[in-house]
């Protein structure tokens, strides 16, 4: 195969799942927690007492499409 100097290598190699999994669990949880605090904390459910977080992110909660009040 002297003429096949340009081998059609497929550049798509999936990342092994066991490499992704720890990141998925920890980073995924933290990211979801971030979305939760913007989207739902001190609304339908609350981790912290009071309304300060709700009121602080109030406008973004409305504008990002989450139910509010």
């Amino acid at each position: 195969m002297t003429n096949s100097y340009l081998a059609p290598t497929v550049g798509v190699t999936a990342i092994p799942l066991r490499e992704v999994l720890p990141w998925l669990i920890f980073a995924g949880l933290i990211c979801l927690l971030g979305v939760y605090f913007v989207g739902a904390e001190q609304g339908a459910t609350a981790i912290f007492k009071g309304m300060y977080i709700h009121e602080f992110v109030h406008d973004s909660r409305h504008l990002l499409g989450f139910p509010c009040h």
Binding site: T2, A7, V20, A27, V35, D59
Partner: protein, 261 residues
């Protein structure tokens, strides 16, 4: 290329998206929020005045006017509060996007990093935002009964999860049929699967309309367009920005390797 290095790239691209989204929401979204709050205030004042007049007419002492204390002032809500919320949301979605990419790249089909990111972004935008808000649209302040917040939150996230699950199922159907039908027809079948599923779910989920009588339609439209625009910015920046950045590091050799002999 490890997941970690994808993750921080996704979050940085998310931060860029946050700044652009904030620009749109501040200029287009905030005026609608202010007008909605003005409507709410006018309604509350009219109600208080009616109660006051009714009490006076009966010869009773008028009820004391309750002053609602502001926990966070309007300028803070519409400024640093909005920026913080939008930033946390966009950076978090940048991270989630990177994690989805780490799983799906090389598994969703034989796509380059750039194409994979673009396809994930389009699918995500439709499944996570567009379809859920077609059933349960974003609402400005003064729309929504505080007593139903539990129900509304549950059905909103329920619709979101059903939509996302339908999208994953549709992609699986598409990829199973691609050898048999070819890319075009398999994609059409996948799209049809998603469409039928979400229409069925949307019909099955409870209806909801808490827009008060007399609420200005223009304000509602402007508010919802600002919301849509911010999400379109986020998913576009993630899909294109993350894709280009990762393409450079993930697939530096595009055409193949130079082989001798």
């Amino acid at each position: 290329m490890t997941t970690g290095s994808l993750l921080w790239r996704g979050m940085i691209v998310g931060f860029v998206a946050a700044i652009l989204s904030f620009g749109l929401l501040k200029t287009v979204g905030e005026p609608a929020v202010d007008r909605a709050i003005a409507f709410e205030t006018a309604m509350d004042e009219a109600k208080a005045k009616a109660e006051h007049d009714a009490a006076v007419a009966k010869g009773e002492n008028p009820p004391a006017v309750e002053q609602e204390e502001e926990l966070v002032s309007r300028p803070v809500q519409g400024g640093i509060g909005l920026f913080t919320g939008v930033t946390v949301y966009n950076v978090a979605f940048g991270g989630l996007f990177a994690l989805a990419f780490a799983i799906l790249y090389g598994r969703m089909g034989d796509y380059s990093p750039r194409a994979s990111a673009a396809l994930i972004a389009i699918s995500g935008f439709i499944a996570v935002y567009v379809v859920p808000i077609l059933k349960y649209p974003a609402n400005p302040p003064s729309v929504g009964n505080p007593d139903t917040i539990g129900l509304r939150t549950a059905i909103y996230f329920g619709m979101l999860l059903l939509s996302l699950a339908s999208m994953i199922a549709a992609w699986n159907v598409r990829n199973r049929l691609v050898d048999q039908l070819g890319a075009w027809d398999a994609t059409l079948v996948g799209g049809a699967v998603y469409l039928v599923a979400v229409v069925a779910f949307a019909l099955a989920m409870p209806p909801l309309n808490e827009v008060p009588d007399g609420f200005p339609a223009v304000v509602l439209w402007q508010f919802r367009m600002a919301s849509l625009g911010a999400q379109a910015i986020m998913w576009t920046v993630l899909g294109l920005g993350f894709g280009v950045w990762v393409e450079r590091v993930l697939a530096p050799v595009k055409q193949g390797r130079l082989r001798t002999a």
